[in-house]
Assembly symmetry: C2
Homo-oligomer: 233 residues x 2
């Protein structure tokens, strides 16, 4: 292995995205990877460019941004070392939905989509191991968001349900008028956590849930939850 390949190999082995991959698969990934260097201010790709591959940052920082029609910049994300970007776009083979620019001198490992897909075709365990790693991280993050949300979300949900009761004329039988994903976003959480909080409220006898119909059983305790004088156990 050349020095350059040895360096790419060491980098790739350290990326969380490729955690748990077999030595041989890491070697295959090294063989298709390219190191790209970017000066401060240099563009990596533009909004609308074909998603012909993805990057994992090795050093530096890269911002992902969109320009509004009047030229205003909206920064969507800033990535640091070890973080992948453009990968969802490249996996789907769609155009990049935003632009990327190096915020400082940066180095990234680039994987060409076609070569990456060919690797998966040859060795499905590459994809299966990546899916396993992403699944585990997602579950860990879900638990963490639930843990972080539990301090506030039940109170906000109670406030929302009470507001809904007012809007729907004061009856305790409510129709959830938002998709669950949208309601979760409104409350600053994710659908999984929202479901669990609804289940918990239900098992505490505060509400009865039947599909998208919710009945408030204990309005006083819902008020207490909403104003923070009580907490959901």
């Amino acid at each position: 292995m050349s020095d350059a390949a040895g360096r790419i190999d060491a980098l790739i082995s350290s990326f969380p995205l490729f955690e748990g991959q077999a030595r041989e698969t890491l070697r295959d990934l090294t063989a298709i990877a390219e190191i790209k260097r970017f000066a401060r201010g240099q563009l990596l790709f533009l909004d609308g460019d074909p998603g012909n591959g993805f990057y994992v940052l090795a050093s530096g920082r890269v911002k992902i941004f969109k320009l509004s029609p009047d030229g205003k910049e909206q920064i969507l994300h800033v990535f640091g070392p070890g973080e992948p970007f453009g990968e969802a776009t490249a996996f789907e083979g769609i155009p990049f939905p935003a632009s990327a620019e190096a915020l400082q001198e940066s180095e990234a490992v680039f994987f060409h989509r076609d070569r990456f897909v060919a690797l998966i075709r040859k060795d499905p365990t590459l994809a299966l191991t990546m899916l396993a790693v992403l699944s585990r991280r997602l579950k860990k993050f879900t638990v963490m968001i639930e843990h972080l949300s539990l301090r506030d979300v039940p109170g906000r949900l109670a406030a929302y349900l009470l507001l809904l009761r007012e809007r729907q004329g004061g009856a305790n039988e409510l129709d959830l008028d938002l998709r669950k994903g949208l309601l979760a976003s409104l409350l600053g959480t994710i659908p999984e956590t929202l479901s669990r909080i609804l289940a918990r409220m239900s098992s505490h006898g505060l509400i009865h849930v039947d599909g998208s119909r919710i009945t408030i059983l204990d309005g006083d305790r819902m008020e207490a939850l909403a104003d923070g004088t009580e907490r959901l156990g």
Copy 2:
């Protein structure tokens, strides 16, 4: 398509795990899927059983648990409709690391590992689309954890760095004595968020970061962050 297949097809199309899959791929998934029904208290699999497939819950609730050597039960997770479980294990083909039991009458769609791997071999876009969906969710969750953590984590990090200063004899040059992942866990966040908070503290002139060496530049404001009288902008 038979009634049963039509029902499985409708279920599979609604699972977040298979979001964005082409009609044809959904049909292939339906063809390899089995509906399994479980009575309340029934075991789906046991800790140590081969991970020969994974489940997506269609209705009911399933708990994932481990038994300690003295028979005490530790519940790791409770899954509800739409949520997959056992998939990371099945993707890797390792034994289940915990047991699963239905908490109420439940229905799950089961995908046999070998058939699922054969599908990916035939149609890598199945894996690529799943990777794209999981990547996007992970990024969304990362942003959300950062958002939720930002209320408290900088303060706790400041407190930790001040504690470290005391422990290391009062000098402002500190050696981070934990791996970043461990420190992030201790603070209740993830490494990405920790990196961003360190970068933000650095750009505010509170600290200077050089690898794992951190120098406290403004001890007074770090104290203010730690006791909550100041917030990181």
